[in-house]
């Protein structure tokens, strides 16, 4: 015990913050997923540079054309270029995914910290959350769209509402176990104020699981948006999204399956990549999974 084993700090920055061990190894699949996701994000964000046509320009002459040099993925029933629509549609889908994840995580973190640390607030907050969880997200979206009309913000609002309780539960459970840690009690004894304790000693514990949760929320939001649009409850067809492109294609599905195939494929690949990255993050950040491999 006498030997002072204070090696030079292994890894600083993010790895330290997330409590990662030095030299954590990552397989090849997550890298493929990351590359695919980056590719999808780049081509959709810079859709104006890559799309050969205007995604909403009607062209009755070019209805339901097969793939050609001019229309790489063919055209839909109104003669709109499918490739351009898929590229532009990704903007809305990704925006909804990222915005939902960000809002749900930030709001859930704040509510969860309070619920976990203050016993009085806990009972009230958690019953409200239970009530939220009892509402099916699709039905809530139907109600919101009926009141506010179909728009990106009402879709985000609807999905966020149903995701927040899950984040709150996660954060609360972490805080409940972390607040029993002696270092938290030591901080109380040192006269540290409650908000500071929450921020300084409890919040960092939630970071790693929240990153993982955020990827799942993002993926599920993209899917729910597609479902809503497919049901005709999402964003209007003048703004393409992966969901409403597929909804439009439904009519001519028997005649031209590629109308649904291409947006469906990109949607699936995108959600798959996000989920693989989430799983990888969980394996790396979860101490129990790490132990099993050691």
């Amino acid at each position: 015990m006498a030997d002072v084993s204070r090696a030079t700090t292994p890894g600083g920055g993010i790895a330290r913050l997330l409590g990662l061990p030095p030299g954590t190894r990552i397989g090849v699949v997550p890298w493929i997923a990351l590359a695919m996701l980056l590719f999808i994000v780049l081509v959709t964000v810079f859709a104006p540079l890559f799309s050969p046509h205007d995604p909403i320009a009607l062209s009755p002459l070019n209805r339901l054309k097969p793939s050609s040099a001019e229309f790489p993925l063919g055209t839909d029933a109104y003669g709109r270029d499918v490739l351009s629509r898929v590229l532009y549609g990704g903007q809305v889908s990704l925006l909804i995914g990222v915005a939902t994840a960000a809002i749900a995580v930030v709001a859930g973190l704040a509510i969860g910290l309070v619920a976990g640390f203050f016993r009085l607030a806990d009972a009230l907050i958690m019953r409200v959350m239970d009530a939220f969880m009892a509402i099916p997200p699709v039905l809530l979206a139907v109600a919101l769209v009926a009141i506010h009309g179909a728009s990106v913000s009402s879709v985000i609002l609807a999905i966020t509402f149903s995701e927040i309780p899950r984040v709150v539960r996660l954060v609360r459970s972490i805080v409940l176990s972390a607040r029993e840690e002696p270092y938290v009690e030591a901080a109380i004894s040192l006269g540290t104020r409650m908000p500071v304790i929450l921020w300084r000693h409890l919040m960092p514990n939630t970071l790693a699981p929240l990153i993982v949760q955020a990827t799942y929320i993002c993926a599920s939001a993209i899917l729910i948006e597609a479902i809503l649009s497919f049901l005709g409850l999402g964003i209007g067809t003048e703004t393409p999204s992966w969901g409403n492109i597929m909804a439009d294609g439904r009519t001519y599905f028997m005649l031209k399956p590629s109308l649904i195939f291409w947006p469906g494929l990109v949607l699936s690949l995108c959600v798959l990549s996000i989920n693989i990255l989430g799983d990888t993050a969980r394996d790396m950040l979860d101490p129990r999974m790490r132990k099993r491999e050691a």
């Binding site: 700090t9 270092y183 109380i188 004894s189 040192l190």
Partner: protein, 559 residues
């Protein structure tokens, strides 16, 4: 009562296990760090060999190597042999070793709660051993399980057979583990710190049980422990390990009377004596901490449920004067930690008053309390959890002083000085807790408490998780700080030896009540209450002065 070492001669008995120059390295490639270096030891029929040493010395690795339980992808045996009877274990396949576990060698662990399956009835868990070896019919197995349960002196075996682990006490769980290990009458029993997690009185019973069963079955026992007191009670032969090597092997009595190796001497020197140190002069200054009829009752149940009140502490009264140390001793569940946490106001007491200096802090609101917090600080038991793993040492040390308005650069300056005071280099400031050993972390935790310039430090089992030599150093550190700064210490411990060495006064608690209160000399040398006497009776090796290597004179223990 004189210490009676076991003196049986085992030379004519058959060898049960012979470990010969066993080397074990970390990692799977050549040239990994050597964690066991030429370890050799033999145990004969009916012999108890104790393997002692501090954490990280390789005691447990040795036992895991024998059981064939070393993680194959992280640690490998590079040379040497392990012979069980006439079988060379290292050349056998995993399948053959598995067949031998339980039938020819078995193991019991430190923590019976985690070693037993929590969702399976304990009777079935013992029967599983028979089932795995394909022995007997269902009713035959049940009969044998009940029989071994009676042998380990479990009460009402039919009921215990159907119980789940959480329904049993710690001692009963350890009896179940022993029953499980011995049901097939193995030739070798490995016991890895089997009594460390138990209270002293329970420990005494379990040690008695192991030697009783050993006599009946003629089992060879490899007993791993860090507690020299336990060694003195049960060992025939002692092997002292350090950094993967056996540095000294000798029959128990010879080792305790005339230790040869310097490390053995240092280990024995560090064992605190049960005999209280010289009393210090009386302190007449007014008390800094005055606790009067403190009580804490936990209420459970509630809406539509029956109210159940559990009194964790009741009518606890004491005064602590500047520069003095008051010990609260007792077994687990006696309420000693409840008192500590009430005094810290980490939990709210239900009755009584706590006066800190001239202020009554019993009912202060969190806001009012915060300004008083500096005066009373706490050091926790587990050095691995008492520092935030994500924050540098400097942030932990300056957090308190900055809360009380000290400018940041002055706080850092104070932290630097304090690290030196507690014996750590000043460049430790920029390190993270995981870069330090348990003892070093405990020093940092003490520095954090002292940084607040408190009047009182509550040490809640602050040295219980440390090796004896480190424990000794930390106790000296506390003593030095007390002498230099006049801090009063409320010292919570289950270890009477530690209490004898650091406390001026001692409170003995049982079931939430104070059963005895007096100076360390009075309480530990001439206890009045039956429970205090039982505690002292149960302390292993109490008649032996480890540092001096001789019996404690009769009049000193029984005066």
């Amino acid at each position: 009562m004189a210490t009676r070492f076991k003196t049986q001669d085992f030379d004519p008995a058959d060898e049960v296990i012979a470990i010969d120059r066993l080397c074990v390295e970390l990692g799977t490639a050549e040239g990994g760090r050597r964690v066991l270096d030429e370890v050799s030891l033999t145990i004969r029929l009916g012999e108890t060999a104790c393997l002692v040493g501090e954490s990280g010395s390789g005691k447990s690795l040795t036992s895991l190597a024998v059981m064939g339980l070393l993680p194959a992808n992280a640690i490998r045996v590079t040379s040497g042999s392990i012979r069980l009877g006439d079988t060379d274990l290292l050349t056998r396949s995993a399948r053959e070793i598995r067949a031998m576990r339980g039938s020819r060698m078995s193991m019991i662990f430190q923590e019976p709660m985690t070693a037993l399956n929590p969702v399976m009835r304990v009777g079935h868990q013992i029967a599983e051993v028979l089932e795995a070896h394909g022995i007997g019919s269902t009713s035959e197995r049940r009969r044998r399980v009940l029989d071994i349960m009676a042998q380990v002196h479990l009460p009402d075996v039919e009921r215990v057979y159907r119980s789940y682990p959480h329904q049993l006490s710690g001692g009963q769980r350890q009896r179940i583990m022993i029953a499980m290990a011995l049901i097939l009458e193995p030739a070798l029993l490995i016991a890895d710190e089997p009594t460390t997690a138990l209270d002293v009185t329970t420990q005494q019973q379990i040690l008695g049980l192991i030697s009783e069963l050993q006599r009946v079955h003629g089992t060879a026992v490899l007993f791993i422990t860090h507690d020299m007191g336990v060694v003195s009670e049960i060992a025939d032969t002692v092997h002292v390990m350090r950094q993967g090597r056996i540095v000294e092997s000798a029959p128990a009595e010879r080792l305790f009377r005339t230790p040869q190796h310097d490390y053995t001497k240092a280990l024995l020197d560090a064992v605190p004596s049960l005999h209280p140190r010289q009393p210090r002069p009386q302190e007449t200054r007014p008390p800094v901490l005055d606790v009067e009829s403190l009580g804490k009752t936990y209420e459970s149940g509630g809406f539509l449920k029956k109210h159940v009140a559990k009194r964790a502490a009741e009518d606890v009264t004491f005064q602590l004067r500047p520069g003095r140390t008051l010990g609260i001793v007792g077994e687990s569940g006696s309420g000693k930690s409840t008192v500590a946490r009430c005094v810290m106001r980490l939990i709210d007491p239900t009755d009584g008053t706590i006066r800190l200096g001239d202020a009554d802090i019993t009912r202060l609101s969190p806001g009012q309390l915060r300004s008083r917090r500096a005066k009373i600080q706490i050091v926790f038991q587990d050095p691995y959890r008492s520092l935030n793993p994500r924050r540098k040492i400097v942030s932990s040390l300056i957090e308190g002083p900055i809360n009380f308005g000290l400018p940041r650069n002055q706080a850092i300056e104070r932290a630097r000085t304090l690290l030196e005071t507690v014996g750590l280099p000043a460049d430790a400031l920029d390190c993270y807790p995981h870069q330090f050993s348990g003892g070093q972390r405990q020093r940092i935790a003490i520095a954090r408490a002292v940084a607040m310039e408190p009047d009182v430090i509550v040490a809640d089992e602050a040295v219980s998780a440390l090796d004896v030599s480190v424990q000794d150093q930390v106790l000296h550190l506390l003593e030095d700080l007390q002498r230099d700064l006049g801090i009063a210490i409320l010292f919570i411990t289950h270890d009477l030896r530690v209490a004898a060495q650091i406390c001026d006064d001692v409170i003995v608690m049982q079931h939430g009540k104070v059963v005895e209160h007096g100076t360390a000399g009075d309480v530990l040398v001439s206890p009045r209450h039956a429970y205090t006497r039982a505690l002292i009776e149960a302390a292993p090796g109490r008649g032996w002065d480890f540092a001096a290597g001789r019996e404690i004179a009769r009049e000193e223990t029984n005066a």
